[in-house]
């Protein structure tokens, strides 16, 4: 469905991704984990068209979409839910959700209303807050809104950038437990970039471990759970060095 082939990306003068290859198939949930600064957000941004790669290709639905702008990719169903949620703070919850459908809303308002209703059924908290300004929501509610806005764009692949960021552990568990259902219901695949490895592994089919701009491990989640490197660096009981260095 979506694949990166030997992707190399610079941010300014600094190389961030040194040849990353990854793919997600239809309906699949793929996690990309790794420490802060590994290039996870850059990878998602590059897939969504925000950072043109210096080399390598991005394939989406059988087409080469390397270098295509994000506002074009969203029309084809490649939708990024950005880091730190980035909802539109001065607009209501309803307007935020409807603007998610910007690229097709005017052609089919009836369908947009139906999809809005479905999303609100999935996130009842958003229905309660429908008329409030998005900036007044809690972090967890804003994350639901950001994901709901992403679903309104009718994704075939939904890219989530650190949805657990700044949320309480209980909220994370609750939110992540819905991802599988959302993917099935709306027919989308998902790439989940996370520092919260345990939470990501609970929901994903496969995972990639990204360190310093390279994929160092990949495979089904069950296999990675047994991998000594992954256990040592990300799943160990002790707070591992890799995470201690960038503890927030």
């Amino acid at each position: 469905m979506l694949a990166a082939i030997d992707l190399r990306v610079y941010r300014g003068p600094a190389p961030v991704l040194h040849g990353v290859t990854l793919q997600v198939d239809e309906g699949e949930i793929v996690a990309v984990v790794g420490p802060n600064g590994a290039g996870k957000s850059t990878l998602l941004g590059a897939l969504a068209g925000c950072f043109p790669p210096a080399a390598g290709r991005v394939m989406f639905a059988g087409e080469d979409v390397t270098g295509t702008a994000p506002e074009t990719l969203v029309r084809r169903g490649l939708v990024l839910v950005p880091e730190r949620r980035q909802v539109f703070p001065g607009l209501t919850v309803r307007d935020n959700l409807l603007l998610g459908a910007y690229h097709w809303y005017r052609r089919n308002k009836g369908e947009a209303a139906a999809l809005l209703d479905a999303v609100l059924a999935d996130f009842p908290r958003l229905r309660e807050r429908i008329g409030q300004l998005a900036g007044s929501l809690s972090g967890g509610e804003q994350q639901m809104l950001a994901i709901g806005r992403g679903i309104m764009a009718r994704p075939r692949v939904l890219l989530l950038d650190e949805p657990s960021l700044g949320l309480a552990p209980k909220v994370v568990t609750d939110l992540f437990s819905r991802f599988r259902q959302l993917c099935t219901r709306y027919g989308t695949a998902m790439i989940l970039v996370e520092q919260n490895v345990r939470a990501a592994f609970r929901v994903a089919d496969r995972a990639y471990v990204l360190e310093r701009g390279r994929v160092v491990r990949e495979g089904p989640v069950e296999a990675l759970r047994e991998d000594p490197h992954v256990v040592g660096a990300y799943l160990g009981k002790r707070l591992p060095a890799a995470l201690r260095a960038d503890a927030r």
Binding site: A69, E71, P82
Partner: protein
């Protein structure tokens, strides 16, 4: 005329000037917030409107046709500036784009000089009739026109931004350009249309003021500057505050001109600009929160 009447008279003429500045300032604020470009060619769009309207009326066309055509021509010129100058430079640094808009303004002034010459063009008032008398001071019918058109335009603007889907998409773009792009809101399309609207409103300002001041090829520069001062007083990111800033500026200028000396009007308004930039660079009514349109 006693002192009180004189002050009232000066304030009323300040209101007229303020309404004109307000239209230019709002165009300025709209373009700045949607595109991030400080468009110093803004006043030239007003000059284009004034010159076109006056030139057409001298050819004997009905007045309303002149006004409509003047607004359309100003919008078209603004659209041309966006495509020819701003759009190709959209990846450049802000300072570069500011320089380009100043250059575009000079080019428009030069073109206006070639087409219309140096003599001011006259335009008839929108409605004939005796000036209205208020407490000994008089107010021109043209002033009423300026205020009414100004109000109508702002009402339309508020409706657009608060009630329509497209208006909300523009506001979303102002709040977070990156996230707006992710959902398919094309910044280049918005940039084009906001120049069209900004050009139209400036053109309207020009054609409304033309019967009072006449239309000259070089009237745009001062209007750009005054619109900018008004926008800065309002904090550059709030159209309503820019309107208040414009009226304030118009009244202060008019009082300075009338009570001190006719040379002091511009001095005072630019001193105000310096003071604002030094003391309250985020506007008289700045708050800690995010932007509004």
């Amino acid at each position: 005329m006693d002192a009180g009447t004189m002050v009232l008279q000066l304030m009323l003429s300040g209101l007229t000037v303020g309404a004109i500045y307000a239209l230019v300032a709002v165009g300025f604020v709209l373009i700045y917030n949607v595109t991030g470009v400080l468009n110093f060619a803004q006043g030239e769009f007003a000059a284009v409107g004034a010159l076109t309207g006056a030139w057409l009326s001298m050819r004997g066309l009905p007045l309303w046709v002149c006004v409509v055509l003047a607004v359309l021509v100003a919008a078209a010129v603004a659209a041309g500036v966006e495509r020819a100058v701003v759009h190709p430079a959209r990846q450049s640094r802000p300072m570069t784009v500011i320089m380009l808009t100043i250059g575009a303004g000079m080019a428009l002034r030069g073109a206006a000089l070639l087409v219309f010459g140096t003599d001011p063009l006259a335009m008839p008032m929108f409605t004939e009739g005796e000036p209205i008398s208020i407490g000994g001071a008089t107010i021109l019918w043209q002033t009423v026109w300026a205020l009414v058109l100004c109000l109508l335009f702002f009402a339309a603007l508020v409706f657009f931004f608060e009630k329509t889907y497209t208006g909300k998409a523009v506001r979303a773009n102002v709040m977070n350009r990156f996230a707006a792009r992710l959902y398919g809101i094309r910044p280049t399309t918005l940039s084009f249309w906001v120049f069209v609207v900004g050009g139209a409103v400036s053109g309207l300002a020009g054609v409304v003021v033309a019967p009072i001041t006449g239309a000259t090829y070089d009237m745009g520069l001062m209007l750009s500057m005054k619109g900018f001062v008004a926008a800065v007083i309002g904090g550059l990111n709030n159209a309503a505050a820019a309107v208040v800033g414009a009226v304030l500026l118009g009244v202060v200028e008019s009082l300075a001109t009338g009570l001190l000396s006719s040379g002091y009007g511009d001095v005072i308004s630019f001193a105000l600009l310096l003071a604002m930039l030094l003391v309250r660079p985020s506007g008289l009514w700045s708050r800690a929160e995010g932007k509004r349109v």
